[in-house]
Amino acid sequence: MAKVFEKPKALTGKPNHYCPGCTHGIVHRLVAEAIDDLGIRENTVGVAPVGCAVLAYEYFNVDMHEAAHGRAPAVATGIKRVLPDNVVFTYQGDGDLASIGTAEIVHAANRGEKLTTIFINNAIYGMTGGQMAPTSLLGQVTATSPYGRSAETEGHPIRMSEMLATIEGTAYVERVSLHDIKNILKAKKAIKKAFEVQIAGKGFAMVEILSTCPTNWGMAPAEALKWVKDNMIPYYPLGVKKEVV
């Protein structure tokens, strides 16, 4: 029981700046636990995004590289080419990965770069104050879709996992959620798997994590988790989208 509260070695222990109830903190812990479980802390290099997780380099107790907005997969590619025996991961939000960085993620996957990507889909731009993301749901009110996202003018929300699953170089992609304990445990397994796939040299691996942004959704943390379950999961079905065995 005590183990649950132990700080993973792959976290620095520095108190994070995330809002109360924000799932970024949970994901940090799950990633760190996977790194600890696999015994790869001293061999791992992480790439932080631009987004609310921009300070991830202060929280993950591994060597870290802070990338430009959306460019984490390109930065990670450069690192991995120099250090093919290291484990390299990117941690990216939906603005970072599914908007400004679409070229970088698609082509990193297409080259089959042996990288692990942790993709936080919270259906909004958290850091800049709640603008529409490519993953925002139809009808979702944001700072830049004040009348609700309309398919007519903003298009439909983009399903990155399904899209990346069509790519030959992708070895593993799974979508998970954090709305209850059972799903958090599934997310933990998926994250560990995404590192194992890289270590086995199979190709590109990504876990998309349906997350919350209670602050910019204007909801209490529990309400936000319910919103993930009731609104996000029906559009973003959970499960393994591709796995090369």
Binding site: E42, N43, M64, E66, A68, R71, T77, G78, R81, L83
Partner: protein
Amino acid sequence: MAKVLMKGNEAIAEAAIQAGCRYFFGYPITPQNEIPAYMAKMLPKVGGSFIQAESEVSAINMVYGAAGAGGRVMTSSSSPGISLKQEGISYIAGAELPCLIVNIVRGGPGLGGIQPAQSDYFQAVKGGGHGDYRVVVLAPAGIQEMADLVIDAFDIADRYRNPVMIMGDGMLGQMMEPVEFAKKEVTISEKPWATIGNKEGKPRNIINSLFLDTQDMENHVLKLFEKYKEIEKNEVRVECYNCEDAEIIIAAYGTTARIAKNVIQKAGAQGIKVGLIRPITLWPFPTDVFKKWAEADHVKSFLTVEMSMGQMIEDVRLSIKDTKPVHFYGRTGGMVPLPGDLLKEIIKIRGEK
């Protein structure tokens, strides 16, 4: 090693490999395509890695990652591609990482043309990307110098943990000249700051250019500028040709400096004494050398010659504080100044005084 006949672009690539560069990330664009092609062929043979990236934006961000991991890394492109690389160059300068960027300049703005130009001078020496930073800019005027400068560029980049740019143009990239590679022992300095994995008991390495606290941000920039001051003190390179008794001094770099040398001889034959100051480092600019010659009584005026509408001329005027007239002659858009036209310009300036 014997001399070999090589295109400028190939000489750049071969010199880079000899300098120990093992990582190249680029995207095709004329007139520099021989560089990535050479690297794609040779790097796998020496245990290196070549990627044709999905864009110049990605290419420079791969450079950013590889440099952070301690690799000796470069990219090359031409003007429109270099514009896309400015994001990454700013991050690399901000995070203080070494790398080489080659710009084989073509005419612009916009898609422009594919013929030689020098119209990216402002972009190269005045920043280009966002923020308070500097890039060391080297401007070779021949193939041998191109090869030599590539090797020096990696060392300068490592010494100061700063991006270094080589500015050529389509003429220098495509023309062939004999070149000799001095088989130097390469010693690449240790990079204790590189992100290679945090071994127990060692400090954690972080590559970063984010400083949310304004005082931290200012301190970081002040530290960068301390470094730039050192670079200005130690790394200025310039060639002075025929300046001792010149009445007119031409300021030109790269291809236009070659043309100027040719014209200086023609002018000499007509009894007009013309000299040349050829900046080899465009930044740091050889300000003191210009100042020195501006103080000489025999020097009546300066003539800046560029393949642009006049960009370096601003640094020439700033250097001599307009104590002497600074004329300009340039062709742009891919047009190369003709020696005969330049000579006419010199004769005209002489008549004006």
